[in-house]
């Protein structure tokens, strides 16, 4: 028997988080003005499409991520992973991601390969280096914790417009992380099965379409978690990425911080490695 299932598929996901969270938001064009005649649903969708549009064409990226998990007693543990993302331009197909753990040591070399789907469960494989075994795993579960963190799989998977319904809730000051900027409040409701949320509310800055904050409401529609995204940097004069993301679970008091190294775009990512057969020779 092979024990290691390692906290389900989720790792793969992380990679893409980047794209959801970080990636999604780049900027320039203001579309708020053209929204005057729109319904809140139309305007919400338009904001989401603009977020997505501004992230098109990044082709691929890679970075190193540290996840710091903290419980209510303040004890912390750290994971370190390398993430490569491959953009799939077709809007009906999601991006691909490859995530490799470097830390903690007992799971060093463990890797996840994930092909994001829009409404279907993603395709996911895990690689267990000690056994040299690649396992296809079920990704039907979107709401479980990712490697014991406060991020659920669905929080990390790549942002695809068609995964959600949208509603523009209004405009608000972006708050202290982006002083002086106005944000759209964008609500999104998952269209895929097995989400852990009824809805999420995001604050999206009106200049660059960066996601500044997200509040997650559980299935009973009570506030479950909130995520703050800071330390944004722009790459290739277009793509904004957050380098620090802080998730707080209001129901358990636990927290997870993601710290990203600088991203590298269009360099050193081999599309052929996004292949479950190659995965078996990753290490």
């Amino acid at each position: 028997m092979t024990l290691r299932q390692l906290t389900k598929a989720s790792t793969a996901a992380i990679l893409s988080t980047v794209s959801l969270v970080a990636g999604a938001l780049l900027g320039g064009v203001l579309l708020s003005d053209q929204a005057s005649a729109e319904t809140p649903a139309d305007k919400g969708l338009a904001i989401a499409q603009e977020i997505d549009r501004r992230d098109l064409g990044f082709e691929n990226s890679k970075t190193v991520l540290r996840m710091i998990l903290r419980n209510k007693q303040g004890e912390s543990s750290t994971r370190e992973l390398r993430i490569e993302t491959l953009e799939i331009p077709d809007p009906d197909v999601g991006d691909k991601s490859l995530t490799v753990f470097d830390h903690p040591r007992d799971i060093k070399g463990t890797a996840f390969l994930s092909f994001t789907k829009i409404l279907d469960p993603d395709d996911q494989w895990i690689y267990l280096p000690a056994l040299k075994r690649v396992k296809r795993i079920s990704s039907a579960n979107k709401s479980g914790p990712f490697v014991g963190s406060e991020f659920a799989y669905e929080d990390l998977t790549s942002f695809e417009v068609k995964k959600y319904d949208y509603l523009w809730l209004g405009d608000e000051d972006c708050g202290e992380s982006m002083p002086g900027l106005s944000c759209y409040m964008l609500e999104r409701r998952p269209l895929f099965e097995n989400s852990g949320y009824t809805r999420q509310v995001s604050w999206v800055d009106q200049e660059e379409y960066r996601i500044v904050k997200v509040e997650f409401y559980d299935r009973k529609d009570s506030l479950l978690k909130s995520l703050t995204l800071t330390d944004y940097k722009q790459y290739l004069d277009q793509y904004w990425r957050s380098h620090k993301q802080h998730m707080v679970n209001h129901q358990t008091g636990k927290e997870t911080v993601l710290e990203f190294d600088d991203f590298v775009f269009r360099e050193g990512v081999n599309a052929r490695n996004f292949n479950k057969n190659r995965l078996a020779r990753l290490r």
Partner: protein
């Protein structure tokens, strides 16, 4: 016993101490254009045997400690990698069989966009099933490590893989054969007679220098992952032939036949269902035969407040081999098991199950659990017990050797 235990503890502590401050040994350092990485683990194991052994000569210890050490050295270049992974186990109870060393990997790997090549001692795994690894054949089983056939000896190989849009094709040249390892006379989980590993019988005139060959095609289409494989060479599992050694004592001599084996492995991943199938057709060991394992794993997600998952597994085994082939316990068996994954920060996991023989009702019970203690340390629990084993010709030898094993591992 207690002296051995103390000796081991001292040795273990010394090892761990040496690793506590590894200095430059951590992570990646530049080394002549390549990046060097040292990692690996050392472990202290304690096997607890509630029962006395049944054979004369076996050590009657309730507590059987041993240690393992497996450093991993790697050099990385842009499109190439060198790997060296030696393995060492010291078991004071069985210094002949279980105390052993091996080179798990010593190879050079190089990759291009649509092909890759591995040359040296390596390891390859094929298959999808949980309770038996039927199609997996490249590596010899390191039989003294565990009875689950998941520990493997390093296999000399030239492995070439071609990656195409229509799937991957792998070609294997396997120069040199590794003999299966067997527990010594003093150890637990051994056969009634000594296995005379010094005098194996080979069908091939080249003996252990025969060059074996294998090929595999693997692909994914939608929810389906599948692989088809072919192996021609010396079978990894020996037939054990009763004989006498030079002293006139009765022994079992391993006999290795040349076989042809076709294998097929398929997994369908349908939401929370994993449907699995492996099948082989083998000739060269008496009458040719088919063997299969097939079943499912279904996962109930989020069964606890904290988001734990519960998986239930069932697999059916059939094996049509005759008396001239190496015996197997999986002739007509059902495996039932459960997996519980806490999804916590310690990666706590549990997997337990039993292989039930349909004809003689013998049961092989198996439990594996693990939990990370902190960044460096992990704790594993493994247990195997043999119930109703007296009517099963294979399990009977192990019937008093059920154990609970605790393993404390230090990763670096």
């Amino acid at each position: 016993m207690s002296r051995a235990l103390r000796g081991l503890a001292v040795l273990g502590l010394a090892l761990l101490n040496a690793m506590e401050n590894p200095g430059a040994a951590q992570d990646i350092d530049a080394l002549g254009g390549a990046e060097f990485e040292l990692s690996g683990n050392a472990a202290f194991e304690l096997r607890i045997h509630p029962e006395s052994p049944q054979f004369e000569g076996q050590r009657d210890n309730r507590l059987a400690p041993s240690v393992t050490f497996a450093p991993e050295f790697r050099l990385f270049w842009d499109t190439a990698r060198f790997t060296f992974i030696p393995f060492l186990r010291y078991d004071p109870e069985d210094t002949v069989g279980r105390t052993h060393s091996d080179i798990r990997e010593l190879n050079l790997y190089t990759e291009s966009d649509d092909w890759d090549l591995t040359v040296g001692l390596g390891k390859v795994f094929w298959g999808v099933a949980e309770s038996r690894h039927l199609v997996d054949i490249i590596n010899q089983t390191d039989g003294v490590e565990d009875i689950d056939e998941e520990d493997k000896l390093g296999q000399p190989m030239v492995q070439l893989n071609l990656l195409r849009d229509w799937g991957e094709v792998g070609f294997f040249l396997l120069p040199g054969f590794r003999e299966r390892t067997f527990v010594g006379q003093k150890g637990r989980l051994r056969l009634p007679l000594r296995v005379d590993t010094d005098n194996p019988i080979y069908e091939s005139a080249a003996e252990d220098r025969r060059i074996d060959a294998a090929a595999r095609y693997a692909h994914t289409i939608g929810d389906w992952d599948f692989g088809a494989s072919y192996f021609h060479g010396t079978g990894r599992a020996p037939t054990l032939v009763p004989d006498f050694d030079a002293n006139g004592s009765r022994v079992l001599r391993p006999r290795y036949e040349v076989i042809d084996q076709f294998g097929l492995d398929v997994q369908a991943t349908l939401d929370a269902w994993l449907l699995k199938f492996e099948g082989i057709h083998r000739s060269g060991q008496g009458d040719s035969f088919f063997a299969t394992v097939g079943g499912f794993e279904y996962t109930f997600f989020g069964v606890s407040e904290e988001g734990a998952d519960l998986g239930v597994l069932a697999e059916y085994h059939y094996d049509g081999r005759g008396d001239d082939a190496p015996p197997t316990i999986f002739d007509n068996d059902i495996f039932l098991g459960a997996r519980y994954v806490w999804n916590d920060e310690f990666d706590t996991e549990f997997l337990g199950g039993g292989v039930i023989d349909q004809s003689n009702q013998s049961v092989l019970l198996s439990v594996e659990a693990s939990r990370r203690l902190n960044d460096q340390w992990s704790l594993d629990l493994e247990s195997r017990f043999f119930l109703n084993a007296n009517d099963d010709p294979l399990l009977e030898s192990f019937s008093d050797d059920g154990f609970v094993l605790l393993r404390l591992s230090r990763f670096f």
